[in-house]
Symmetry: C2
Subunit: 253 residues, 2 copies
DNA sequence: GCAATTAATGACTCATCGGTTATTAACTCT
DNA sequence: AGAGTTAATAACCGATGAGTCATTAATTGC
């Protein structure tokens, strides 16, 4: 009994907004530009969303939830593998034993899923890293990165305790390296017109990482040094609290 | 014959501005807040600087020049090493031969210098990555990162041609990994109260990288596959042009 | 002390942009 | 067709903050 809203309007707004956010950041994007790109007026925006922040919050929440889900199935999958098949040893790696190769395949599978998700939301990654300063989402990127590093800490700890990881380097480095690599790849994605060869990337990341982290150089450490290195605490975990900031009607200062 | 300006005012403004830029970004920082932090009025700012952008441009230019200088001495040093001592081989790495160890020491020296510079300008790194959207410096961070990756391409190419690097991974991955690691470390620095153990980090980065990049797994490739992998082009170089954007009096749209 | 000169102030202008709202357009149901 | 309802518009308001400039304050040389 009433005029129905253009069914495409909402999606069209989200699409245009994501584009503008990439170009100018959350604060820099003008609502009128977003609506103009959809052939709508400024007021129409407020029929569909409470604010720019609310729109972005919706999309970011979606991405975040999917990423968290991936990370936990990743963690669960690896734990299951370690339980049933055992943790790959130095010898497994050196001899490219089946246990190591199967572990790598599993790890690659999860990496691939993460890379695919990053591709799908590459604009959101870009925005949350570069374009949310002075908004409610300030700091969200850093929380997500720390989340991811904490997740890697788990793997690192397992390998370290088993003696598979070399003990001659700072504990936080491996997580920083992996997350840094992913970040850099995400930054590159925003400029890409087509999806790169993620399978090759996942392969490379794993091989480069593990065969570099393996204790090939451990022989150079004295037993005491190795013992000490093992004790060095890894990156401390952070919980999920505060990762997602609620959209708020920001009424003035 | 005239009233002299407060000699501390200029430095004090730069200091306060850098702090505000970290907190709110280049656009988000208010000139009045900067001057207030120095006990000055807004007008005083314009006696010393043409604009916020001009101030930041000065500091960034300084950082950029020092980084470029480091990168080129780095490149020159390695080239010299390769010329006089030769490129480390797979065997050198496997046997931890003197040539490899000396190479690592050299590389660590340069990495240390880069990390020290990043520490000194950690606020600037943070700002240029996170807080310059919609300003003249938009894109500068990305150019610097690409610069750095192009620099690593050189090393990668030398090792790849010598057959020291494994051939079973995407060519651009190694530069992305190293630069990603550095970025992640820089992001971490902004929250640190005291300088971390850069020597340990430099050690770790090198060991993790090289002993992972070495052709330990190359045996799994057929000669044809290896040949093809070697031919895969590495990241293309970018020149210095446009890296430093001139400060401009931005008079409206 | 006084004239000359420049530092420093802060009230002002002006443009921008988020958000509001009175008004109009479009659609549905009877 | 026309009443009822909601989508959509665009003029408007108010806050914000960059940059200007007339005015005042401080300092120096004589």
């Amino acid at each position: 009994m009433a005029r129905p809203a253009d069914p495409k309007a909402r999606n069209s707004l989200i699409h245009a907004a994501r584009e503008k956010f990439v170009q100018h950041g959350l604060k820099g994007a003008r609502i009128e530009d977003i609506t103009k790109a959809c052939g709508l007026s400024k007021g129409a925006f407020y029929l569909h969303f409470e604010s720019k922040e609310a729109l972005f919050g919706e999309v970011l929440q979606e991405f975040g939830e999917r990423m968290m889900e991936l990370l936990s199935t990743h963690k669960a999958g690896l734990t299951e593998f370690f339980k049933t098949e055992g943790v790959p040893t130095i010898a497994d790696v050196r001899e490219q034993a089946s246990r190591y190769l199967r572990y790598i395949e599993l790890s690659k599978k999860y990496n691939l899923a993460i890379l695919e998700l990053c591709w799908e939301y590459r604009d959101v990654v870009h925005i949350v890293v570069r374009g949310v300063q002075n908004t409610a989402f300030e700091g969200t990127a850093w929380l997500m990165l720390q989340q991811a590093m904490a997740h890697l800490e788990h793997q690192a700890r397992v390998f370290a305790e088993k003696g598979t990881f070399r003990g001659d380097m700072t504990a936080g480095l491996m997580p920083a390296m992996v997350v840094g690599t992913y970040s850099m790849l995400c930054f590159q994605m925003i400029d890409m017109k087509q999806k790169p060869d993620f399978a090759a990337l996942a392969h490379g990341i794993n091989r480069l990482l593990y065969e570099g982290c393996v204790a090939a150089a451990q022989q150079h450490l004295s037993p005491a040094e190795y013992e000490k290195a093992l004790k060095t605490p890894l990156l401390t975990s952070t919980d999920n609290c505060g990762l997602w900031v609620e959209k708020t009607k920001r009424r003035n200062s």
